[in-house]
C-alpha cells in the first residue's frame, strides 16, 4: 500500500472521529451550560429566600416593637405598623413554604416555626386587646410571663438556622456554578480547537484530493491520447494490410493466369497431336496384335479422357482465378455515395433475376417502407443480387418459395433483411458460409463459394456487417447492416 492510499483511507476516518468528538464536546457544553444556569438559578433562589426570611423576621420584630409602643403610650398611632404586620406575617409565611421545602429545611422546623409565629402573634394580639379594654396591668402581666419573649427567642434561633442553611445552599450552588462554568469553558475551548483542527484537516484533504484528481485526469488524458494514437496507427496498419492483401490477390490471380495459359495451350497442342495420331491410326489399321490394340486404346480412349479431366480442372481453376480477380477489383473500386431508394434498387435487382423467379414459381415481396440510404449503388446491387440469387438457388422444392425483403433504421445504420423459406443452413456453418470458397449443405447446385464472401467484403466496405439467422429445413434470414450515410461513416473512419 503506497502513501497515497494510506492517506486517502485514513484521513477520512480521522476526520470522522474528530467530528464525533466535536459532537460530544458540543453536547457536553450544552450540558454544562444547562448545569451552570440551574446552579446560578438555585444560588439566586437561596439568596432571595434568605432575604425573604429576614423580611419575615423583620415583620415580626416590627409587630413586637409596635405592640410595645402601644402598651407604653396607649396611643393608637403605634398600632398602625402592628396591624399591617399582623396581616402580612401569615401571608408571607405561607409564601415561603414551597421554598423551605426546596432548600431542605425540615418540615419539623417549619411546623415549629409556624407554631411559634402563631404563639407570638397570639401573645401580641392578646396584650393589645387587654390594653385597649383598659386592662393595662393584665397586658403587662402577659408580657411578664415571657411567653412572647421565649417564642421570639426561638424564632430568632430558627431564623439563624435557616439563614445558615440558605447561605450554605447558596455557597454550594455557587461553587457548583464555578465548576460548571470552568468545565463549560474547557469544553468550549476544546471544541474550538478541535473545530480549527477539523476544518484545517478537511481543507488539507480537499486540497490533496483535488491535486490527486488533477493528476489522475492528466494521466487519463494522456492515456486517451495514447489510445487514440494507437487506434489510428492500428487502423492505418489494417488499411494498409487490406490494400496489400487486395493487390496481392490481384497479382496472384494475374500471375497464375500466365502458367494456366501455357497449360491450356499445350493441352490444346497435345489434343491436336493425339488427334492427328488417332486419324492416322484410323486410316492405317494396325495388325491385330496386343501391343497395337493397347496403342489404339491409348490414343482413342486414355489420352482423350486424360485431356478431358485436364480441361475441366483448368476450367475450374480459371473460374476461381476469375472470381479472385473480381473480388480484388471490387475491393479496389472507389465507392460513389449517392442518395438511393433501397426499395427501387432491390426491385431492379429482382427484375434482372426474373427468368429464374418464373422458372421456380418464386414470390418476392419488397417492403415499400425500406429506408433510403446514401451509399454506393453498384455495391448494393451486387450485395442484394447475391443474396436473392442464393435465396432462389437454395429454395426448398417441396414448397412454394417466398422471399421477403424488409428493413428498418437503427441509429445511424440501416438494417435490411432478406428472408426466405428455403432449405436453411446448419448452425455450425453460419460463419463458414461467409468464407471464400466455402459452401454449406448438399453440394447439388453450381457455385464457387464466392458470393457470400463477396457480400461480406462489400457490406464491410459500406461501413456495415452482414449476419445470418437460419433454421435448417425452414428458412434463412440475412441481415445486412449498412451505414445510412456512407460519407459520414467514411469521415468517421478518417478521424481515427
Amino acid at each position: 500500500m503506497n502513501r497515497d492510499t494510506i492517506i486517502s483511507r485514513s484521513v477520512p476516518l480521522i476526520l470522522l472521529a474528530g467530528a464525533l468528538l466535536l459532537l460530544v464536546l458540543v453536547l457536553s457544553s450544552l450540558h454544562f451550560a444547562n448545569l451552570t444556569s440551574r446552579n446560578a438559578q438555585e444560588a439566586l433562589d437561596a439568596a432571595r429566600l434568605n432575604g425573604r426570611v429576614m423580611r419575615l423576621f423583620t415583620l415580626i420584630q416590627d409587630a413586637e416593637t409596635s405592640q410595645r409602643g402601644y402598651l407604653l403610650t396607649g396611643q393608637e398611632e403605634f398600632l398602625k405598623t402592628f396591624r399591617r404586620s399582623e396581616n402580612l406575617i401569615p401571608l408571607h409565611f405561607r409564601s415561603l413554604l414551597p421554598d423551605f421545602q426546596s432548600i431542605a429545611v425540615s418540615s419539623v422546623t417549619v411546623e415549629r416555626l409556624d407554631a411559634l409565629i402563631k404563639t407570638k402573634l397570639d401573645e401580641l394580639i392578646e396584650t393589645v386587646k387587654l390594653k385597649r379594654s383598659g386592662q393595662a396591668e393584665a397586658a403587662l402581666a402577659v408580657v411578664i410571663t415571657e411567653r412572647g419573649k421565649q417564642a421570639m427567642e426561638e424564632i430568632r434561633q430558627i431564623m439563624v438556622r435557616i439563614d445558615a442553611i440558605t447561605n450554605n445552599v447558596g455557597f454550594v450552588r455557587l461553587s457548583a456554578l464555578t465548576d460548571a462554568t470552568r468545565l463549560l469553558l474547557i469544553s468550549i475551548t476544546g471544541g474550538a480547537i478541535l473545530l480549527v483542527v477539523l476544518v484545517g484537516g478537511a481543507v488539507a484533504l480537499i486540497l490533496w484530493h483535488s491535486r490527486q484528481l488533477k493528476k489522475a485526469s492528466a494521466a487519463l488524458e494522456l492515456q486517451n491520447e495514447t489510445l487514440e494514437q494507437k487506434v489510428r496507427e492500428r487502423t492505418r496498419y489494417l488499411e494498409r494490410a487490406n490494400r496489400e492483401l487486395q493487390s496481392y490477390a490481384y497479382i496472384v490471380g494475374h500471375d497464375l493466369r500466365a502458367p494456366l495459359v501455357n497449360i491450356m495451350g499445350f493441352t490444346a497442342e497435345l489434343e491436336r497431336a493425339s488427334g492427328r495420331f488417332a486419324s492416322y491410326l484410323l486410316a492405317n489399321p494396325l495388325p491385330d496384335h496386343p501391343a497395337a490394340k493397347a496403342a489404339r486404346e491409348a490414343v482413342q480412349e486414355d489420352v482423350p479422357e486424360a485431356l478431358r479431366f485436364i480441361r475441366s480442372s483448368m476450367k475450374r481453376m480459371d473460374d476461381l482465378i476469375n472470381e479472385i480477380l473480381k473480388l480484388a477489383r471490387a475491393g479496389n473500386r472507389t465507392l460513389q455515395a449517392e442518395p438511393l431508394n433501397l426499395a427501387a434498387l432491390i426491385d431492379d435487382v429482382v427484375a434482372t433475376l426474373k427468368h429464374r423467379l418464373d422458372g421456380n414459381n418464386t414470390v418476392v415481396t419488397i417492403s415499400p417502407d425500406l429506408p433510403g440510404v446514401v451509399s454506393d449503388r453498384l455495391a448494393l446491387q451486387q450485395i442484394f443480387a447475391n443474396l436473392l440469387d442464393n435465396a432462389i438457388k437454395y429454395a426448398d422444392p417441396s414448397r412454394r418459395a417466398v422471399i421477403e425483403v424488409f428493413g428498418k433504421v437503427v441509429g445511424e445504420d440501416v438494417t435490411v433483411t432478406v428472408r426466405d423459406n428455403g432449405r436453411g443452413i446448419a448452425s455450425q456453418d453460419n460463419e463458414r458460409i461467409f468464407e471464400l470458397f466455402r459452401r454449406s449443405g448438399r453440394q447439388d447446385k453450381p457455385g464457387e463459394g464466392i458470393g457470400l464472401a463477396h457480400v461480406r467484403a462489400l457490406v464491410r466496405r459500406l461501413g456495415g456487417e452482414v449476419g445470418v439467422r437460419s433454421t435448417l429445413g425452414q428458412g434463412t434470414s440475412f441481415d445486412v447492416t449498412l451505414a445510412a450515410d456512407l460519407n459520414r461513416a467514411k469521415n468517421w473512419g478518417e478521424q481515427w
Binding site: H254, A258, P259, L260, V261, N262, G265, F266, E269
Partner: protein, 148 residues
C-alpha cells in the same frame, strides 16, 4: 528501303518459354514463315540487337521486327525500347509490344517511347490464341523498314 514481309526476321523477347512457343506456333499457323529468334531475357536480347559495338550497326540492311514483352526478369521491355530508339540504326525498327499489362498509363508510355503497336496479351487461352493468330495475319501483310 522497304522489304517485303517474307525477308523479315522476327525477334521475340519473351521470358515465359511456354508463351514464346505458343506464340510461335500460332503465328506459324496464320501463315507466317519468317525466321523467329527468341530471347528469354533483356540482356541477351539487347546484346543481339545492339551488337558488339552497342549501336545496332550490325543489322544495317536487315529488316527486323521485335515482339517485346514488358515484364522481363532483368529489365523492363521499355528499357529495351528506349535503347533501340536511342540507336541511330534501330530507331525506325518495328516494335510490337505484346504483354499482359493493360494499364492505360503503360500503354501511353510505350507509344511515347516509340512503340509501333501495343497488344495486350489476353489471359484467357481462347482469346490469347485468337489474338496471336490475328497478329500473325497482320504480320503477313504489313511492310517493315530496314535498319539503316
Amino acid at each position: 528501303m522497304v522489304t517485303s514481309a517474307r525477308a523479315v526476321k522476327i525477334v521475340m523477347i519473351e521470358d515465359d518459354e511456354g508463351h514464346a512457343r505458343l506464340i510461335e506456333k500460332n503465328i506459324r499457323r496464320a501463315g507466317v514463315t519468317n525466321d523467329i529468334v527468341a530471347f528469354v531475357n533483356g540482356t541477351e536480347a539487347l546484346s543481339f540487337l545492339l551488337g558488339s559495338d552497342g549501336t545496332g550497326s550490325e543489322h544495317i540492311g536487315q529488316t527486323i521486327l521485335v515482339l517485346l514483352d514488358l515484364n522481363l526478369p532483368d529489365m523492363t521491355g521499355m528499357d529495351i525500347l528506349a535503347r533501340m530508339r536511342g540507336s541511330a540504326h534501330l530507331n525506325a525498327t518495328m516494335v510490337i509490344i505484346l504483354t499482359t499489362t493493360d494499364d492505360p498509363r503503360e500503354v501511353h508510355r510505350c507509344y511515347d517511347l516509340g512503340a509501333n503497336v501495343y497488344i495486350p496479351k489476353p489471359m484467357q487461352y481462347e482469346r490469347f490464341v485468337n489474338a496471336i493468330q490475328q497478329l500473325g495475319l497482320f504480320l503477313s501483310v504489313m511492310a517493315v523498314p530496314e535498319a539503316r
